[in-house]
Protein backbone atom coordinates (compact mmCIF):
# COMPACT_ATOMS: atom_id res chain seq x y z
CA UNK A 1 0.00 0.00 0.00
CA UNK A 2 1.42 3.39 -1.02
CA UNK A 3 2.47 5.50 1.92
CA UNK A 4 0.48 8.67 1.94
CA UNK A 5 2.58 11.47 3.29
CA UNK A 6 1.55 15.06 3.31
CA UNK A 7 4.80 16.42 4.67
CA UNK A 8 5.31 19.94 3.49
CA UNK A 9 2.00 20.11 1.66
CA UNK A 10 0.00 23.22 2.50
CA UNK A 11 -3.60 22.09 2.57
CA UNK A 12 -6.48 24.47 3.23
CA UNK A 13 -10.06 23.46 3.96
CA UNK A 14 -12.96 25.92 3.77
CA UNK A 15 -15.91 24.93 5.94
CA UNK A 16 -15.87 23.08 9.26
CA UNK A 17 -18.89 20.84 8.82
CA UNK A 18 -18.83 17.02 8.75
CA UNK A 19 -17.02 17.17 5.39
CA UNK A 20 -14.57 19.94 6.15
CA UNK A 21 -13.45 19.07 9.65
CA UNK A 22 -13.02 15.43 8.64
CA UNK A 23 -10.86 16.47 5.67
CA UNK A 24 -8.77 18.73 7.91
CA UNK A 25 -8.23 16.05 10.57
CA UNK A 26 -7.35 13.37 7.99
CA UNK A 27 -4.95 15.64 6.09
CA UNK A 28 -3.19 16.81 9.25
CA UNK A 29 -2.90 13.23 10.50
CA UNK A 30 -1.02 12.45 7.28
CA UNK A 31 1.44 15.25 7.93
CA UNK A 32 -0.03 18.13 5.90
CA UNK A 33 0.39 21.71 7.03
CA UNK A 34 -3.38 22.09 7.44
CA UNK A 35 -5.56 25.15 7.90
CA UNK A 36 -9.32 25.04 8.42
CA UNK A 37 -11.31 28.21 7.75
CA UNK A 38 -14.85 28.59 9.09
CA UNK A 39 -17.08 31.65 8.75
CA UNK A 40 -19.67 30.54 11.28
CA UNK A 41 -19.86 27.86 13.93
CA UNK A 42 -17.81 24.67 14.03
CA UNK A 43 -19.72 21.60 12.98
CA UNK A 44 -21.52 23.17 10.05
CA UNK A 45 -25.16 22.52 9.24
CA UNK A 46 -25.11 19.03 10.71
CA UNK A 47 -24.21 20.11 14.22
CA UNK A 48 -25.82 23.54 14.31
CA UNK A 49 -28.90 23.58 12.09
CA UNK A 50 -29.42 20.03 10.87
CA UNK A 51 -28.87 16.46 12.00
CA UNK A 52 -28.17 17.05 15.66
CA UNK A 53 -30.68 19.74 16.66
CA UNK A 54 -33.49 18.10 14.67
CA UNK A 55 -32.95 14.80 16.49
CA UNK A 56 -32.80 16.58 19.82
CA UNK A 57 -36.25 18.02 19.11
CA UNK A 58 -37.38 14.62 17.86
CA UNK A 59 -36.33 12.96 21.09
CA UNK A 60 -38.18 15.45 23.26
CA UNK A 61 -41.45 15.60 21.35
CA UNK A 62 -41.39 11.86 20.71
CA UNK A 63 -40.97 11.24 24.43
CA UNK A 64 -43.78 13.71 25.12
CA UNK A 65 -46.08 11.58 22.98
CA UNK A 66 -44.89 8.34 24.59
CA UNK A 67 -45.57 9.70 28.06
CA UNK A 68 -49.06 10.79 27.01
CA UNK A 69 -49.74 7.31 25.65
CA UNK A 70 -48.03 5.36 28.41
CA UNK A 71 -51.22 3.97 29.94
CA UNK A 72 -50.98 1.20 27.35
CA UNK A 73 -47.85 0.12 29.17
CA UNK A 74 -49.41 0.25 32.60
CA UNK A 75 -48.15 3.70 33.49
CA UNK A 76 -50.38 6.51 34.61
CA UNK A 77 -49.25 10.13 34.75
CA UNK A 78 -50.75 13.54 35.22
CA UNK A 79 -51.11 15.52 32.02
CA UNK A 80 -47.45 16.10 30.97
CA UNK A 81 -46.20 19.43 29.66
CA UNK A 82 -43.68 20.13 26.93
CA UNK A 83 -41.39 23.05 27.72
CA UNK A 84 -39.71 24.20 24.49
CA UNK A 85 -37.40 26.54 26.38
CA UNK A 86 -36.10 23.47 28.21
CA UNK A 87 -35.68 21.60 24.93
CA UNK A 88 -33.74 24.54 23.47
CA UNK A 89 -31.50 24.73 26.53
CA UNK A 90 -30.67 21.03 26.18
CA UNK A 91 -30.03 21.56 22.48
CA UNK A 92 -27.61 24.42 23.11
CA UNK A 93 -25.75 22.34 25.70
CA UNK A 94 -25.29 19.35 23.42
CA UNK A 95 -24.21 21.47 20.47
CA UNK A 96 -21.69 23.38 22.58
CA UNK A 97 -20.19 20.15 23.86
CA UNK A 98 -19.92 18.73 20.37
CA UNK A 99 -18.30 21.92 19.09
CA UNK A 100 -15.71 21.66 21.83
CA UNK A 101 -15.10 18.13 20.58
CA UNK A 102 -14.48 19.35 17.02
CA UNK A 103 -12.15 22.10 18.26
CA UNK A 104 -10.32 19.56 20.38
CA UNK A 105 -9.94 17.20 17.44
CA UNK A 106 -8.44 19.97 15.34
CA UNK A 107 -6.00 20.89 18.09
CA UNK A 108 -5.02 17.27 18.66
CA UNK A 109 -4.18 16.90 14.96
CA UNK A 110 -2.38 20.22 14.71
CA UNK A 111 -4.93 21.86 12.40
CA UNK A 112 -4.74 25.64 12.35
CA UNK A 113 -8.26 26.99 12.85
CA UNK A 114 -9.15 30.39 11.39
CA UNK A 115 -12.49 32.10 12.05
CA UNK A 116 -13.36 34.09 8.95
CA UNK A 117 -15.02 34.17 5.55
CA UNK A 118 -12.90 32.80 2.72
CA UNK A 119 -12.97 33.51 -1.00
CA UNK A 120 -10.77 32.25 -3.80
CA UNK A 121 -8.43 34.84 -5.25
CA UNK A 122 -6.86 32.61 -7.82
CA UNK A 123 -5.92 29.00 -8.39
CA UNK A 124 -3.48 28.87 -5.51
CA UNK A 125 -4.61 31.36 -2.92
CA UNK A 126 -7.58 32.42 -0.87
CA UNK A 127 -8.39 35.58 1.00
CA UNK A 128 -9.92 35.35 4.47
CA UNK A 129 -11.90 38.27 5.94
CA UNK A 130 -11.80 38.16 9.68
CA UNK A 131 -14.20 40.16 11.85
CA UNK A 132 -12.47 43.15 13.42
CA UNK A 133 -9.07 42.25 12.03
CA UNK A 134 -6.92 42.61 8.94
CA UNK A 135 -7.86 40.20 6.22
CA UNK A 136 -5.24 37.63 5.34
CA UNK A 137 -4.12 35.74 2.28
CA UNK A 138 -3.38 32.04 2.37
CA UNK A 139 -1.49 30.22 -0.32
CA UNK A 140 -2.20 26.55 -0.73
CA UNK A 141 -0.90 23.48 -2.50
CA UNK A 142 -4.25 21.78 -2.11
CA UNK A 143 -7.67 23.29 -1.36
CA UNK A 144 -10.72 21.37 -0.21
CA UNK A 145 -13.99 23.28 -0.43
CA UNK A 146 -16.71 22.15 1.97
CA UNK A 147 -19.02 25.13 2.40
CA UNK A 148 -22.22 23.12 2.48
CA UNK A 149 -25.75 24.27 1.74
CA UNK A 150 -28.45 26.57 3.10
CA UNK A 151 -32.26 26.50 3.11
CA UNK A 152 -33.69 27.52 -0.27
CA UNK A 153 -36.40 30.14 -0.47
CA UNK A 154 -39.33 29.81 -2.87
CA UNK A 155 -40.92 32.72 -4.76
CA UNK A 156 -43.69 34.43 -2.84
CA UNK A 157 -42.53 33.00 0.49
CA UNK A 158 -39.56 35.04 1.72
CA UNK A 159 -38.26 33.81 5.09
CA UNK A 160 -39.12 36.26 7.84
CA UNK A 161 -38.83 34.01 10.88
CA UNK A 162 -42.29 35.10 11.93
CA UNK A 163 -44.84 33.82 9.41
CA UNK A 164 -42.59 32.08 6.90
CA UNK A 165 -40.03 29.87 8.55
CA UNK A 166 -37.01 28.00 7.24
CA UNK A 167 -35.70 24.84 8.90
CA UNK A 168 -33.24 27.04 10.82
CA UNK A 169 -36.14 28.93 12.38
CA UNK A 170 -38.03 25.75 13.28
CA UNK A 171 -35.03 24.36 15.13
CA UNK A 172 -34.87 27.53 17.22
CA UNK A 173 -38.55 27.58 18.22
CA UNK A 174 -39.03 28.58 21.85
CA UNK A 175 -42.82 28.51 21.62
CA UNK A 176 -44.94 26.31 19.42
CA UNK A 177 -47.47 27.62 16.91
CA UNK A 178 -50.98 26.20 17.00
CA UNK A 179 -50.86 25.13 13.39
CA UNK A 180 -48.35 24.93 10.56
CA UNK A 181 -48.34 24.36 6.85
CA UNK A 182 -45.20 22.50 5.84
CA UNK A 183 -44.24 23.13 2.22
CA UNK A 184 -42.24 20.16 1.03
CA UNK A 185 -42.76 16.46 1.74
CA UNK A 186 -39.10 15.49 1.60
CA UNK A 187 -36.99 14.25 4.47
CA UNK A 188 -36.99 17.51 6.42
CA UNK A 189 -40.69 18.17 5.82
CA UNK A 190 -41.74 14.69 6.91
CA UNK A 191 -39.54 14.74 10.01
CA UNK A 192 -40.86 18.16 11.04
CA UNK A 193 -44.42 16.94 10.47
CA UNK A 194 -44.04 14.17 13.04
CA UNK A 195 -41.93 16.24 15.44
CA UNK A 196 -44.47 19.06 15.58
CA UNK A 197 -47.48 16.76 15.55
CA UNK A 198 -46.06 14.92 18.56
CA UNK A 199 -45.81 18.28 20.29
CA UNK A 200 -49.51 18.93 19.71
CA UNK A 201 -49.27 21.24 16.71
CA UNK A 202 -51.87 20.89 13.94
CA UNK A 203 -49.86 19.95 10.86
CA UNK A 204 -50.57 20.02 7.13
CA UNK A 205 -47.94 18.94 4.61
CA UNK A 206 -48.13 19.97 0.97
CA UNK A 207 -46.00 18.18 -1.61
CA UNK A 208 -45.79 18.97 -5.32
CA UNK A 209 -44.99 15.40 -6.38
CA UNK A 210 -47.51 12.57 -6.06
CA UNK A 211 -45.91 11.07 -2.97
CA UNK A 212 -43.80 12.14 -0.01
CA UNK A 213 -40.14 11.10 0.10
CA UNK A 214 -39.88 10.61 -3.66
CA UNK A 215 -36.16 9.85 -3.41
CA UNK A 216 -33.99 7.28 -5.24
CA UNK A 217 -34.00 4.02 -3.30
CA UNK A 218 -37.37 4.66 -1.62
CA UNK A 219 -40.28 3.03 -3.40
CA UNK A 220 -43.92 4.05 -3.67
CA UNK A 221 -44.95 1.48 -1.08
CA UNK A 222 -42.59 3.09 1.42
CA UNK A 223 -44.17 6.49 0.80
CA UNK A 224 -47.59 4.94 1.21
CA UNK A 225 -46.63 3.58 4.64
CA UNK A 226 -45.41 6.96 5.80
CA UNK A 227 -48.51 8.69 4.46
CA UNK A 228 -50.67 6.14 6.21
CA UNK A 229 -48.82 6.84 9.45
CA UNK A 230 -49.42 10.56 8.93
CA UNK A 231 -53.11 9.93 8.43
CA UNK A 232 -53.27 7.96 11.69
CA UNK A 233 -51.72 10.88 13.53
CA UNK A 234 -54.10 13.29 11.82
CA UNK A 235 -51.28 14.96 9.92
CA UNK A 236 -52.96 16.20 6.78
CA UNK A 237 -50.91 15.35 3.71
CA UNK A 238 -51.72 16.97 0.37
CA UNK A 239 -49.78 15.53 -2.55
CA UNK A 240 -49.67 16.71 -6.16
CA UNK A 241 -50.20 20.25 -5.01
CA UNK A 242 -48.01 23.29 -4.86
CA UNK A 243 -48.26 26.60 -3.03
CA UNK A 244 -48.72 29.66 -5.18
CA UNK A 245 -48.89 32.52 -2.72
CA UNK A 246 -49.57 33.58 0.84
CA UNK A 247 -51.52 36.37 2.47
CA UNK A 248 -50.05 37.17 5.87
CA UNK A 249 -51.81 38.80 8.80
CA UNK A 250 -51.40 38.83 12.55
CA UNK A 251 -53.92 35.99 12.61
CA UNK A 252 -51.64 33.83 10.50
CA UNK A 253 -51.16 32.81 6.88
CA UNK A 254 -53.66 32.06 4.15
CA UNK A 255 -51.87 30.01 1.49
CA UNK A 256 -53.26 29.34 -1.95
CA UNK A 257 -52.72 25.95 -3.57
CA UNK A 258 -52.71 24.67 -7.13
CA UNK A 259 -52.68 21.08 -8.36
CA UNK A 260 -49.53 19.97 -10.16
CA UNK A 261 -51.20 17.11 -12.00
CA UNK A 262 -53.97 19.07 -13.67
CA UNK A 263 -56.64 17.60 -11.40
CA UNK A 264 -58.38 20.33 -9.48
CA UNK A 265 -58.66 19.46 -5.82
CA UNK A 266 -60.02 20.89 -2.66
CA UNK A 267 -58.99 22.65 -0.59
CA UNK A 268 -57.69 25.47 -2.76
CA UNK A 269 -56.53 27.35 0.31
CA UNK A 270 -55.00 26.43 3.63
CA UNK A 271 -54.89 28.56 6.75
CA UNK A 272 -52.16 28.06 9.28
CA UNK A 273 -50.50 30.16 11.93
CA UNK A 274 -47.10 29.65 10.34
CA UNK A 275 -45.71 28.32 7.08
CA UNK A 276 -42.54 26.23 7.08
CA UNK A 277 -40.79 26.12 3.72
CA UNK A 278 -38.57 23.06 3.40
CA UNK A 279 -38.75 22.51 -0.33
CA UNK A 280 -35.03 22.12 -0.86
CA UNK A 281 -31.61 23.46 -0.04
CA UNK A 282 -29.12 25.33 -2.16
CA UNK A 283 -25.32 25.19 -2.31
CA UNK A 284 -23.42 27.84 -0.32
CA UNK A 285 -21.19 28.88 -3.20
CA UNK A 286 -22.12 32.56 -3.59
CA UNK A 287 -19.24 34.89 -2.92
CA UNK A 288 -16.79 32.03 -2.71
CA UNK A 289 -14.88 33.26 -5.74
CA UNK A 290 -15.29 30.04 -7.68
CA UNK A 291 -15.61 31.97 -10.92
CA UNK A 292 -12.39 33.86 -10.16
CA UNK A 293 -10.48 30.61 -9.88
CA UNK A 294 -12.25 28.98 -12.80
CA UNK A 295 -13.99 26.29 -10.73
CA UNK A 296 -16.93 25.04 -12.79
CA UNK A 297 -20.41 25.09 -11.29
CA UNK A 298 -23.67 23.78 -12.69
CA UNK A 299 -26.69 25.99 -13.34
CA UNK A 300 -27.72 25.90 -9.69
CA UNK A 301 -24.38 26.80 -8.18
CA UNK A 302 -23.20 23.30 -7.24
CA UNK A 303 -19.49 22.73 -7.85
CA UNK A 304 -18.90 20.12 -10.53
CA UNK A 305 -16.59 17.32 -9.40
CA UNK A 306 -15.40 13.92 -10.61
CA UNK A 307 -15.32 10.66 -8.64
CA UNK A 308 -12.12 11.80 -6.88
CA UNK A 309 -13.85 15.00 -5.73
CA UNK A 310 -11.63 17.05 -8.08
CA UNK A 311 -13.09 20.25 -9.49
CA UNK A 312 -12.20 21.65 -12.90
CA UNK A 313 -9.12 23.25 -11.33
CA UNK A 314 -6.15 21.07 -10.45
CA UNK A 315 -5.48 20.79 -6.71
CA UNK A 316 -8.90 22.22 -5.82
CA UNK A 317 -11.47 19.74 -4.48
CA UNK A 318 -15.11 20.13 -3.47
CA UNK A 319 -17.02 17.82 -1.14
CA UNK A 320 -20.36 17.58 0.61
CA UNK A 321 -23.51 19.55 -0.11
CA UNK A 322 -21.81 22.28 -2.14
CA UNK A 323 -20.91 19.68 -4.75
CA UNK A 324 -23.91 17.56 -3.88
CA UNK A 325 -26.57 17.55 -6.53
CA UNK A 326 -27.58 15.01 -7.82
CA UNK A 327 -25.77 12.93 -5.20
CA UNK A 328 -27.35 12.50 -1.77
CA UNK A 329 -26.80 15.61 0.34
CA UNK A 330 -26.04 13.85 3.60
CA UNK A 331 -23.50 14.38 6.36
CA UNK A 332 -22.07 10.86 6.10
CA UNK A 333 -21.59 11.36 2.35
CA UNK A 334 -19.58 14.51 3.02
CA UNK A 335 -17.39 12.65 5.51
CA UNK A 336 -16.78 9.78 3.07
CA UNK A 337 -16.00 12.25 0.29
CA UNK A 338 -13.55 14.03 2.60
CA UNK A 339 -11.57 10.80 2.81
CA UNK A 340 -11.50 10.50 -0.99
CA UNK A 341 -10.47 14.11 -1.51
CA UNK A 342 -7.60 13.86 0.98
CA UNK A 343 -6.41 10.57 -0.51
CA UNK A 344 -6.29 12.07 -3.98
CA UNK A 345 -4.67 15.26 -2.73
CA UNK A 346 -1.90 13.17 -1.22
CA UNK A 347 -1.35 11.05 -4.29
CA UNK A 348 -3.31 7.89 -3.47
CA UNK A 349 -6.56 8.34 -5.34
CA UNK A 350 -9.54 6.09 -4.80
CA UNK A 351 -12.91 6.81 -6.39
CA UNK A 352 -15.91 7.66 -4.24
CA UNK A 353 -18.64 5.05 -4.44
CA UNK A 354 -22.29 5.94 -3.97
CA UNK A 355 -23.49 2.36 -4.21
CA UNK A 356 -24.25 1.82 -0.55
CA UNK A 357 -25.21 5.21 0.88
CA UNK A 358 -27.89 4.84 3.55
CA UNK A 359 -30.71 7.30 4.03
CA UNK A 360 -32.35 7.71 7.42
CA UNK A 361 -35.63 9.51 8.06
CA UNK A 362 -36.69 10.06 11.66
CA UNK A 363 -40.45 9.86 11.22
CA UNK A 364 -42.78 7.57 13.18
CA UNK A 365 -42.31 4.89 12.08
CA UNK A 366 -38.77 5.57 10.92
CA UNK A 367 -37.77 5.05 7.30
CA UNK A 368 -34.33 4.03 6.07
CA UNK A 369 -32.98 2.60 2.88
CA UNK A 370 -29.84 1.70 0.97
CA UNK A 371 -29.18 0.57 -2.58
CA UNK A 372 -31.78 0.31 -5.32
CA UNK A 373 -35.42 -0.65 -5.64
CA UNK A 374 -36.70 -3.34 -8.00
CA UNK A 375 -37.93 -0.64 -10.39
CA UNK A 376 -34.49 1.01 -10.44
CA UNK A 377 -32.84 -2.37 -10.98
CA UNK A 378 -35.12 -3.01 -13.93
CA UNK A 379 -34.25 0.39 -15.39
CA UNK A 380 -30.58 -0.54 -15.09
CA UNK A 381 -31.22 -3.80 -16.90
CA UNK A 382 -30.70 -5.99 -13.82
CA UNK A 383 -33.12 -8.85 -13.20
CA UNK A 384 -34.13 -8.42 -9.58
CA UNK A 385 -36.85 -9.51 -7.20
CA UNK A 386 -38.23 -7.86 -4.08
CA UNK A 387 -39.59 -9.61 -1.02
CA UNK A 388 -41.39 -7.90 1.83
CA UNK A 389 -42.24 -8.64 5.43
CA UNK A 390 -44.43 -6.74 7.88
CA UNK A 391 -42.64 -5.55 11.01
CA UNK A 392 -45.58 -6.70 13.11
CA UNK A 393 -44.71 -10.34 12.48
CA UNK A 394 -41.66 -9.87 14.75
CA UNK A 395 -42.12 -10.59 18.45
CA UNK A 396 -40.07 -7.64 19.71
CA UNK A 397 -42.17 -5.27 17.62
CA UNK A 398 -45.29 -6.49 19.42
CA UNK A 399 -43.49 -5.97 22.72
CA UNK A 400 -42.62 -2.38 21.81
CA UNK A 401 -46.14 -1.73 20.63
CA UNK A 402 -44.85 -0.09 17.44
CA UNK A 403 -46.57 -2.34 14.93
CA UNK A 404 -46.46 -0.19 11.81
CA UNK A 405 -43.98 -0.90 9.09
CA UNK A 406 -42.62 -3.20 6.44
CA UNK A 407 -39.18 -4.38 5.41
CA UNK A 408 -38.33 -4.90 1.74
CA UNK A 409 -35.25 -6.52 0.25
CA UNK A 410 -34.30 -6.49 -3.42
CA UNK A 411 -31.84 -9.02 -4.75
CA UNK A 412 -30.38 -10.08 -8.08
CA UNK A 413 -32.52 -12.94 -9.38
CA UNK A 414 -29.50 -14.92 -10.63
CA UNK A 415 -26.88 -14.47 -7.96
CA UNK A 416 -28.99 -13.59 -4.93
CA UNK A 417 -26.74 -10.57 -4.32
CA UNK A 418 -28.56 -8.01 -2.20
CA UNK A 419 -29.05 -4.86 -4.23
CA UNK A 420 -31.18 -2.81 -1.88
CA UNK A 421 -33.12 -2.74 1.36
CA UNK A 422 -35.98 -0.44 2.27
CA UNK A 423 -37.22 -0.32 5.85
CA UNK A 424 -40.18 1.47 7.35
CA UNK A 425 -40.59 0.57 11.00
CA UNK A 426 -39.23 0.79 14.53
CA UNK A 427 -35.50 1.51 14.65
CA UNK A 428 -35.20 1.42 10.85
CA UNK A 429 -32.43 4.02 11.01
CA UNK A 430 -30.34 1.69 13.18
CA UNK A 431 -31.21 -1.49 11.29
CA UNK A 432 -30.20 -0.07 7.94
CA UNK A 433 -26.47 -0.23 8.66
CA UNK A 434 -26.59 -4.01 8.54
CA UNK A 435 -28.12 -3.67 5.09
CA UNK A 436 -25.32 -1.28 4.12
CA UNK A 437 -22.81 -3.95 5.09
CA UNK A 438 -24.62 -6.39 2.82
CA UNK A 439 -24.92 -4.04 -0.16
CA UNK A 440 -21.38 -2.65 0.17
CA UNK A 441 -19.88 -6.14 0.29
CA UNK A 442 -22.26 -7.71 -2.23
CA UNK A 443 -23.55 -10.27 0.25
CA UNK A 444 -26.24 -12.67 -0.89
CA UNK A 445 -29.65 -13.49 0.51
CA UNK A 446 -28.24 -16.88 1.56
CA UNK A 447 -25.43 -15.21 3.52
CA UNK A 448 -27.93 -13.00 5.32
CA UNK A 449 -30.23 -15.98 5.92
CA UNK A 450 -27.33 -17.89 7.46
CA UNK A 451 -26.41 -15.07 9.84
CA UNK A 452 -27.87 -15.65 13.26
CA UNK A 453 -29.68 -12.64 14.69
CA UNK A 454 -30.27 -12.15 18.41
CA UNK A 455 -33.75 -12.79 19.80
CA UNK A 456 -35.86 -10.93 20.75
CA UNK A 457 -34.83 -7.98 18.62
CA UNK A 458 -36.38 -5.90 15.86
CA UNK A 459 -33.33 -6.77 13.73
CA UNK A 460 -34.80 -10.25 13.27
CA UNK A 461 -36.96 -8.69 10.58
CA UNK A 462 -33.87 -8.82 8.36
CA UNK A 463 -33.14 -12.50 8.81
CA UNK A 464 -36.83 -13.47 8.59
CA UNK A 465 -37.00 -11.51 5.37
CA UNK A 466 -33.93 -13.34 4.06
CA UNK A 467 -35.52 -16.68 4.98
CA UNK A 468 -38.70 -15.70 3.17
CA UNK A 469 -36.74 -14.58 0.12
CA UNK A 470 -34.82 -17.88 -0.04
CA UNK A 471 -37.93 -20.00 0.33
CA UNK A 472 -37.22 -21.14 3.88
CA UNK A 473 -39.61 -18.93 5.82
CA UNK A 474 -40.17 -20.00 9.42
CA UNK A 475 -42.77 -17.61 10.80
CA UNK A 476 -43.79 -15.63 7.74
Amino acid sequence: MAQETGKGLRLVVIGAGPGGYAAAALAAAKGCDTTLVEAGALGGTCLNTGCIPSKILRKSTGLFREVRESDTFGISTREPELDMAGVQARKKGIIAAQQKGVAGLMEKNGVKLIQGRAALEGRDRIRVDQPGREGLTLEFDRLILATGSVPAQIPGFPFDGEHILSSDHVLDLETLPESVLIVGGGVIGCEFAFILNDAGVKVTVVEALDRVLDIPGFDGQGSKLIQRAMKKRKIKCLTSQKVTGAVLSDRGCRVSLEPTNGQAKSPAEIEAEKVIVVAGRQPATKGLGLETAGVDMDGRGYAVVNEFMETSVKNIYAIGDMAGFPKPMLAHVATAEARRAVSHALGSPGPMSYRAIPSAVFTSPEAAWVGITAKEAEQAGISAQTHTLLFRTIGKVQVLGELDGEAAITADTQSGIILGVRLVGAHATELISQACLAVENKLTLDQLANTIHAHPTVSEVMVELAWKATGQALHA
Binding site: R228, S266, L390, R392, T393, Q398, L403
Partner: protein, 82 residues
Protein backbone atom coordinates in the same frame (compact mmCIF):
# COMPACT_ATOMS: atom_id res chain seq x y z
CA UNK B 1 -63.59 11.48 5.17
CA UNK B 2 -67.02 12.84 4.22
CA UNK B 3 -66.72 14.75 0.97
CA UNK B 4 -63.94 12.58 -0.47
CA UNK B 5 -64.66 11.03 -3.86
CA UNK B 6 -63.36 7.70 -5.12
CA UNK B 7 -63.52 5.76 -8.38
CA UNK B 8 -64.29 2.05 -8.29
CA UNK B 9 -61.35 0.01 -7.13
CA UNK B 10 -59.49 2.90 -5.48
CA UNK B 11 -58.02 2.31 -2.05
CA UNK B 12 -60.00 4.16 0.58
CA UNK B 13 -58.30 2.93 3.71
CA UNK B 14 -56.82 -0.07 5.45
CA UNK B 15 -57.56 -2.47 8.27
CA UNK B 16 -54.85 -3.59 10.64
CA UNK B 17 -54.78 -6.68 12.79
CA UNK B 18 -52.08 -7.99 15.09
CA UNK B 19 -50.49 -9.92 12.26
CA UNK B 20 -51.52 -8.21 9.05
CA UNK B 21 -52.45 -5.01 7.29
CA UNK B 22 -54.96 -5.12 4.46
CA UNK B 23 -55.91 -2.41 2.02
CA UNK B 24 -59.58 -1.64 1.50
CA UNK B 25 -60.78 -1.07 -2.04
CA UNK B 26 -64.03 0.72 -2.73
CA UNK B 27 -66.51 -1.55 -4.58
CA UNK B 28 -68.11 1.26 -6.50
CA UNK B 29 -67.33 4.87 -7.30
CA UNK B 30 -68.94 7.72 -5.44
CA UNK B 31 -68.72 10.34 -2.75
CA UNK B 32 -68.40 9.55 0.94
CA UNK B 33 -71.40 10.88 2.81
CA UNK B 34 -70.70 9.50 6.26
CA UNK B 35 -67.99 7.58 8.06
CA UNK B 36 -68.65 5.31 11.06
CA UNK B 37 -66.58 7.07 13.73
CA UNK B 38 -67.52 4.38 16.28
CA UNK B 39 -64.90 2.19 14.60
CA UNK B 40 -62.13 4.49 15.84
CA UNK B 41 -62.59 3.29 19.41
CA UNK B 42 -64.18 -0.10 18.66
CA UNK B 43 -62.63 -1.46 15.47
CA UNK B 44 -63.60 -5.01 16.42
CA UNK B 45 -67.18 -4.16 15.42
CA UNK B 46 -66.00 -4.97 11.90
CA UNK B 47 -65.50 -8.57 13.08
CA UNK B 48 -68.49 -8.94 15.42
CA UNK B 49 -71.07 -7.11 13.36
CA UNK B 50 -69.82 -6.66 9.79
CA UNK B 51 -73.32 -6.11 8.38
CA UNK B 52 -74.61 -4.08 11.26
CA UNK B 53 -72.74 -1.84 13.68
CA UNK B 54 -69.45 -2.51 11.90
CA UNK B 55 -70.43 -0.50 8.85
CA UNK B 56 -67.55 1.56 7.49
CA UNK B 57 -68.99 4.23 5.25
CA UNK B 58 -72.05 5.51 3.51
CA UNK B 59 -71.50 6.21 -0.15
CA UNK B 60 -73.49 8.29 -2.61
CA UNK B 61 -73.23 6.20 -5.77
CA UNK B 62 -71.53 7.90 -8.70
CA UNK B 63 -72.71 5.46 -11.35
CA UNK B 64 -75.77 3.42 -10.26
CA UNK B 65 -75.01 0.90 -13.06
CA UNK B 66 -72.10 -0.33 -10.98
CA UNK B 67 -74.59 -1.92 -8.56
CA UNK B 68 -75.07 -4.69 -11.16
CA UNK B 69 -71.49 -5.86 -10.66
CA UNK B 70 -71.79 -6.33 -6.90
CA UNK B 71 -72.74 -9.52 -5.05
CA UNK B 72 -75.06 -9.86 -2.06
CA UNK B 73 -73.53 -11.66 0.92
CA UNK B 74 -75.44 -14.86 0.13
CA UNK B 75 -74.26 -14.83 -3.47
CA UNK B 76 -70.66 -14.30 -2.29
CA UNK B 77 -70.83 -17.25 0.12
CA UNK B 78 -72.18 -19.45 -2.68
CA UNK B 79 -69.33 -18.32 -4.89
CA UNK B 80 -66.80 -19.33 -2.19
CA UNK B 81 -68.33 -22.80 -1.90
CA UNK B 82 -67.96 -23.44 -5.61
Amino acid sequence: EPGDSFSRGEEFGSVESVKAVSELFIPMGGEIVEVNTALESAPDLVNSSPFGEGWMLKLRAGEPDQFQDLLLSGQYLNMLEE
